[in-house]
């Protein structure tokens, strides 16, 4: 019967849709993303940055992760994440402190200081007013402003308390969405400071002109940057652009120019789930030859 057949088609369609929706939720943290008994635990300290000259008037929270193995004698590697608050929470998609504890103990990554930075906002004068969000301005803008904030303001201050490697191969910058393009921009502008980029669901779209990177990569002498990209087929398509296409363009351009890169393309949506689930392996890949770099 026609009606029966139609119903069958709809049921099949609904089933496929269900599978697709389920695929984002199916990305789950593995054993390296949870605390393991016997593994030394690092410390996470929260702080506030309120004196930016690059972004006047902004305030932001940041967290510093220090592994138990850090002794201040040898310079530690550096990992910087944008939207940092989402990376340090145990309940978040990444649980970076636990991942780092596990991988450092295993020897898969060096002793690493983690700096997890939130975007700035300019607090309001009146309680009834909203803060001026500076996230898009800081993360989506091309150019070196945000790199300067990190390298001239925040990291020198942290460098007073910790011995951090100056070798770009041992310095990683990471982020999701606008934080992902931000991470790429920092390394693109300062490859001598950051030699590794991790971008999850990166916004290489026209929020503030970032869609030009695939073209720039092809016509710019290759920079000494190792790039990890993750995106999903169900990421967004909106006024700023199409995230799956933009990330595929990025991967194609990195390949064309001969970059040391990896592109993980899954089924995920605009969420941190896939990037979070594979984060330990991503860190393994980025630091696969860390013992050669001091």
């Amino acid at each position: 019967m026609q009606w029966m057949r139609m119903t069958g088609v709809w049921l099949l369609a609904a089933g496929l849709l269900g599978i697709t929706q389920g695929q984002d939720e199916s990305y789950k943290k593995g054993p390296d993303s949870v605390r393991k008994p016997g593994v030394p635990q690092g410390t996470v300290t929260k702080a506030k940055w309120t004196e930016s000259k690059v972004f006047p008037g902004t305030v932001r929270d940041y967290w510093i992760y220090v592994p138990k193995q850090y002794d201040g004698k040898e310079p530690a590697a550096l990992f910087v994440a944008q939207d940092g608050g989402g990376f340090v929470t145990e309940e978040g998609a990444f649980n970076a402190p636990a991942v780092f504890d596990n991988l450092i103990q295993e020897g898969a990554m060096p002793v690493t200081i983690g700096v997890f930075v939130n975007p700035g906002s300019i607090p309001p004068v009146e309680e009834t007013s909203k803060p001026r969000s500076n996230r898009s301005y800081e993360y989506d803008s091309l150019g070196d402003l945000y790199a300067r904030f990190l390298l001239e303001e925040l990291l020198p201050e942290i460098g007073k308390s910790f011995k951090i490697s100056g070798d770009p191969r041992r310095r990683v910058i990471c982020g999701n969405s606008s934080g992902g393009i931000c991470a790429f921009t920092v390394a693109w502008e300062r490859p001598g400071e950051f030699g590794n980029v991790i971008s999850h669901i990166g916004s290489f779209t026209n929020i503030r002109g970032g869609h030009v990177y695939p073209a720039l990569i092809r016509k710019t002498e290759k920079k000494p940057i190792r790039v990890f990209l993750q995106d999903g087929a169900n990421d967004v398509d909106n006024l700023h652009g199409n995230w799956p296409l933009a990330n595929q363009q990025m991967a194609a351009s990195l390949k064309f120019t001969g970059y040391d890169f990896q592109f993980v393309y899954g089924e995920g949506k605009h969420s941190a789930r896939h990037g979070g689930a594979i984060f330990p392996d991503t860190m393994r890949w980025v630091f696969r030859d860390w013992k050669e770099a001091k």
């Binding site: 008037g57 300019i122 009834t128 996230r135 898009s136 999701n176 700023h240």
Partner: protein, 303 residues
């Protein structure tokens, strides 16, 4: 970028929702010509009843009023060269009269003119709910403020090549200024003493190919906190975090002033090429003479 996905990404960080043009423009609603035959229409303003006010800064001597139904009248005559208008919380109409080198306000009914500042060439202004007047002076690259007590001072100088249009966020905590000679719209925090802090080239404006001169001019804000700025390439809309939402095509060359008015303040009025146009929108404006209000949140939409 859908707002409901962001808690997964970063709990507690400030993120904004996508604001495509489709949240504002209504399918099938085109620009309507409301008035024409002027030399240079400018100084768009609105009142709580949805009446719309404008001037002919080049040839006219009057302040014209368009009722929500489209009835045109002369609200006040004998005041040539006005390029910026807005009602204050005192019900008076504040005006930039650059050619006469003064900032004035007009008492409704009597039409009496009160002079606030002389020796300046104000271009455009905004009056907040406290009665502080902020105005741009394009040639000196200055933003001025006049306190409710009448104290006049320069609150920003430099950075902006040709400061022109000026507006506020719905909560009146952020002031924005367009740059006629540059490609940014600048944002400031409004301090409790009426000064401005933390200037930032917050929005990047689309410019014609081959130039960084946006011709950014008249500016306004809707109840959702979106900013609208007239420019060479059209009417540009920005979301509250400074991201370009899109460019609305101008019905005529050289759009210079914009305001929400008409029934429910839901129509966007545009002064361009000596004419006045309006277009029905899915949004509505805010009046800064009224108390500050939080921005509304539109329903999620990605196209």
């Amino acid at each position: 970028m859908r707002v409901w996905l962001f808690p997964l990404l970063c709990a507690g960080c400030l993120v904004a929702q996508d604001m495509p043009l489709s949240q504002v423009l209504v399918e099938g609603e085109a620009w309507q010509l409301m008035a024409e035959g002027y030399g240079f229409t400018d100084a768009c303003a609105a009142d709580a009843e949805g009446n719309f006010y404008f001037t002919d800064v080049k040839n006219g001597t009057g302040i014209f009023k368009l009722s929500p139904e489209g009835q045109l009248s002369v609200w006040r005559d004998g005041l040539p060269g006005i390029s910026g208008l807005q009602f204050g919380p005192d019900g008076k109409l504040y005006a930039c009269q650059g050619k006469q080198e003064r900032l004035i306000r007009i008492v409704p009914g009597s039409g009496e003119v009160e002079v606030l500042v002389t020796g300046v060439r104000p271009n455009d202004l905004v009056v907040n709910a406290f009665g502080t007047v902020f105005f741009t002076e394009t040639k000196t690259q200055q933003v001025h403020a006049v306190s409710p007590a009448g104290v006049h001072r320069v609150v920003h100088q430099g950075d902006i090549v040709r400061p022109n249009g000026i507006s506020l966020s719905p909560d009146q905590g952020t002031l924005i200024v367009s740059d006629h000679g540059g490609k940014h719209v600048w944002a400031f925090r409004v301090e409790s003493d009426g000064s401005l802090a933390y200037a930032q080239p917050y929005m990047t404006v689309v410019t014609p190919y081959g130039t960084d001169e946006s011709k950014g001019d008249g500016s306004t804000t809707d109840a959702f906190g979106r900013y609208y700025v007239t420019s060479e390439v059209g009417l540009q809309m920005f979301d509250p975090t400074g991201r370009l939402g899109g460019v609305i095509a101008s019905p005529a060359p050289k759009p210079v002033s914009v305001e929400f008015a008409g029934p429910g303040l839901a129509w966007i009025y545009l002064a361009a090429d000596g004419k006045i146009f309006r277009r029905k929108t899915a949004s509505h404006g805010v009046l800064f003479q009224s108390p500050p209000v939080p921005s509304l949140t539109p329903p999620a939409q990605t196209r």
